[in-house]
């Protein structure tokens, strides 16, 4: 095809084609970019700020990779003991690992080193925070439904791997803070029954701390985990392209189309500009605010520890679980089972796992096998929204536990009281959040129904001839009416007749009963407010007894 194009162009102009065209032709003959571009250049994306949360993550990830490459040029992943004679006076003559020394050198003696280090670290915190918010956006709008369950899992894996990539990176400088964190992790590994000690010995090449872990964490941090993450991110994006982007309900927007702007030129320009804005914000923060001042923390030594030793925020809830857990221990036949650490370790997996599998749980309850490209408003899925808020509450309670000492000192409270709050809120918080959120959602549904049927309250008070005061309601526009009533309402699943046509009793499985019960909890009479029907709307707007 390209050959014919070229000859046609040649014959028209009777001269050589412009250089750009020739380069493009050359590339197309080898890479097939014409058909690729044709298929994707006009790809439509909907416009909404919440669809850009994923972009924040992608751009901060790119920034992390670029700055990380620069840092590897100067970082020595070695635990050899050396004496410091660099330019930071309060460390002069101290013995430290080469990893710590090279991080000090990056901070004080490498040109731009401290800024790059701070960009790298701030971007990591923002990357994880961005992924968290992006995941919650997807969750609360129901964007994880078919066909996007796999992409939800990819995203979840990116978040989980991001946590561990962040953790291994935080450990590399071998400073007193991160060393304490590594020790904490080693303790958690040791608490695993039977295999714990073996895994610990394997990971650290012997007893903690040994002199291997920095080099090992280094390969994991710069190669293994980011490699997997990069692959997952590409797959995530390919699936976004393949599935097409979801959109919020509105006039003209259906499950079959995407209403928005084309990738080229609009989104290329927007996304390109947004990248630089994200980079700018991170660089600004990194230029003005200190992060992880390892020079103030000092080199790691197993005999030293400081108060206020916390992991970065994304591991904070795990820290909180351990801090809140009573120090239970079982000693049997000369073996110790440290429940005080092992239970939080299991709960850590549980907290993360439960949000990962939720889409499958919901699709099992609804039994809905159709594709969904129109997003839900959170209020229109009260049980899901309540579940999500309960989960976020759970997570936040863990975070509070992780910072219990700072909360205690800054709000002049007893750390024991904060810890007890966390213990109780760990169980009670999600339940309370669930109930309250569901109530709020139902209230908002009632309000929507009211608005559809009776219009918007204008705030204008009118006095009727006979003295009565009424508030003037203004009917909604057709667009607004459509948007408020576009959602579909499920009916609760029934178990069906328990006897078949011959009167033989059918065996009802327990899972079936559970599903019916859950379905009732999701879509039963008191769990969603029926949206106004056309008849109701017509009856009311026809003007009988209605203001």
């Amino acid at each position: 095809m390209s050959t014919t194009n070229t000859t046609a162009a040649d014959s028209r102009s009777r001269g050589k084609a412009p250089a750009g065209e020739r380069v493009a032709d050359w590339a197309d003959g080898r890479l097939g970019i014409y058909s690729l571009a044709k298929a994707n250049m006009r790809k439509i994306f909907p416009d909404h700020w919440s669809f850009m949360l994923g972009e924040i993550c992608m751009y901060s990830f790119i920034i992390i990779i670029l700055t990380g490459v620069y840092l590897t040029l100067f970082f020595h992943p070695s635990m050899n003991e050396v004496e410091y004679h660099g330019s930071y006076v309060p460390m002069q003559g101290q013995m430290m690992s080469e990893a710590f020394k090279s991080t000090l050198d990056i901070s004080f003696d490498v040109r731009g080193g401290l800024l790059i280090r701070q960009i790298h670290h701030w971007a990591a915190l923002i990357f994880l925070a961005g992924m968290f918010v992006h995941m919650m956006r997807v969750f609360f709008t129901g964007a994880f439904r078919k066909p996007r369950e796999v992409n939800w899992l990819f995203g979840f894996l990116l978040f989980a791997l991001g946590m561990f990539t962040g953790f291994t990176g935080y450990s590399l400088p071998d400073d007193l803070l991160s060393g304490t964190g590594v020790r904490f992790t080693q303790g958690a590994i040791l608490s695993v029954p039977i295999v714990g000690t073996y895994i610990s010995m394997f990971l650290f090449g012997g007893e903690f701390p040994g002199d291997d872990f920095v080099a090992r964490f280094y390969s994991i941090h710069i190669l293994l985990l980011p490699g997997i993450m990069l692959g997952l991110m590409v797959a995530h994006l390919i699936l976004v392209f393949y599935h097409k982007h979801t959109q919020y309900a509105g006039p003209g927007k259906t499950n079959q189309n995407v209403v928005g702007m084309p990738l080229l030129p609009v989104y290329m320009a927007k996304a390109g500009g947004f990248f630089f804005l994200v980079f700018g914000v991170i660089a600004l923060i990194a230029g003005l605010f200190t992060i992880n001042p390892i020079w103030a923390l000092g080199p790691y030594r197993a005999d030293q520890v400081s108060t206020g030793a916390q992991p970065d925020w994304y591991m904070g809830f795990a820290e909180g679980l351990v801090r809140a857990m009573p120090g239970w221990e079982i000693n049997l036949w000369g073996h110790t089972l440290v429940l005080g650490v092992f239970i939080p370790l299991v709960v850590f997996g549980l907290v993360l796992g439960i949000i990962a599998v939720y889409p499958f749980l919901e699709s099992w309850v609804t039994g809905d096998k159709r594709e969904h490209h129109i997003l839900d408003r959170p209020r229109n899925a009260p049980t899901r929204t309540a579940f999500g808020v309960a989960w976020v509450t759970w997570y936040m309670v863990g975070l509070i536990g992780g910072g219990n000492d700072l909360i205690a000192t800054h709000f002049h409270m007893s750390i024991n009281a904060v810890t007890w709050f966390v213990r109780i809120a760990f169980f009670a918080g999600p339940v309370i959040a669930f109930v309250i959120t569901k109530r709020i959602c139902l209230g908002l549904q009632r309000r929507d129904r009211e608005k559809v049927l009776h219009g918007r309250e204008t705030g204008i008070i009118k006095r009727l001839p006979h003295g009565e005061f009424i508030e003037v309601h203004e009917p909604l526009s057709q667009e607004q009416l459509y948007t408020l009533t576009a959602h579909e309402q499920y009916r609760p699943a029934e178990i069906g007749p328990e006897v078949d046509e011959n009167g033989v009793k059918r065996k009802v499985k327990g899972s079936e009963k559970l599903r019916a019960k859950l379905s009732k909890g999701y879509f039963g009479e008191e769990h969603q407010i029926a949206k106004p029907t056309v008849e109701e709307y017509k009856e009311i707007t026809s003007g009988h007894g209605h203001h």
Partner: protein, 269 residues
């Protein structure tokens, strides 16, 4: 002479001789002994103790007992030494405002002269560490790096890496060491106020204490240079995480809303 010898056997002679001898020794002592200075010191000291006792009776006795013996509301002050008084009153912790988990640092209400008097009185109750001289706590010339290592080994587990403070159990806490007078840091190490263990010279030598003071002076004072910009309180990952969420992600979302609001308008055809 005759008169004298005539009366030397008088019954009162012995008494007269004794009186003369006493007067002579007393007079000679008064003339030759280095009496002037000693006497003046003694008076000043006892005056300070007297004045201190009066201040004590007004400001301290209700909790520590009229003689510093301690009551159910306050510990005995016998043997705590002048350094403890100088620390507790000099940082405003004493007199305490109200009972609680811990007595906080607050406005100092006594003048240094009054504090010295109180210290003199309490020191007179029993031997204890005295107020250090300036050369003992002056950070000039001390080894900052060594002080850092000592601080991380002995102090950081409660006071945080650079002395920003931290929580202890049941509402108690290790206070921040920012802008604490080097003298008071020295005295705190010596006397171990409230929940703090004491570090006598046998544990941390005078030199060590000086190093620690020099380290704190370098990393946690008004003149400390923050190479990375605003240190966000120096509290570690919790404040960093909070900042990343509120300002980092907050700014990102604000930017995203701004970008999304600027949609290309469809061409009118």
């Amino acid at each position: 002479m005759k008169k004298l010898s005539a009366r030397r056997r008088h019954p009162l002679a012995a008494i007269v001789v004794l009186l003369i001898a006493l007067a002579a020794t007393g007079g000679l002592y008064a003339v030759f002994a280095p009496a002037d200075k000693a006497q003046a010191d003694e008076t000043a000291q006892s005056l300070a103790i007297d004045e201190g006792k009066k201040l004590y009776a007004v400001g301290c006795a209700s909790c520590h007992g009229t003689g510093g013996q301690g009551t159910s509301d306050g510990p005995s002050l016998v043997g705590v030494g002048a350094a403890a008084v100088d620390f507790q009153v000099g940082t405003g912790r004493m007199p305490a405002q109200q009972p609680g988990a811990q007595v906080p640092r607050k406005k100092v209400i006594y003048t240094q002269a009054e504090i010295d008097q109180l210290a003199a009185y309490v020191a007179s109750l029993g031997a204890g560490p005295s107020v250090p001289d300036e050369e003992q706590y002056d950070p000039a010339g001390a080894d900052i790096a060594e002080g850092g290592e000592l601080f991380r080994t002995n102090c950081a587990q409660c006071h945080n890496f650079t002395g920003k403070g931290g929580a202890l159990s049941e509402g108690k806490y290790a206070p921040t060491l920012e802008d604490v007078d080097p003298k008071h840091i020295y005295e705190a190490m010596q006397t171990g106020p409230q929940n703090m263990p004491s570090f006598p010279d046998t544990t941390l030598s005078e030199e060590n204490k000086k190093d620690i003071i020099a380290y704190l002076d370098a990393v946690n004072s008004d003149d400390t240079v923050e190479p990375g910009g605003n240190a966000l309180g120096g509290l570690g990952p919790v404040s960093e995480g909070l900042f990343a969420w509120v300002f980092g992600l907050g700014a990102m979302i604000a930017v995203a809303v701004w970008v999304a609001a600027r949609t290309a308008k469809a061409k009118k055809s």
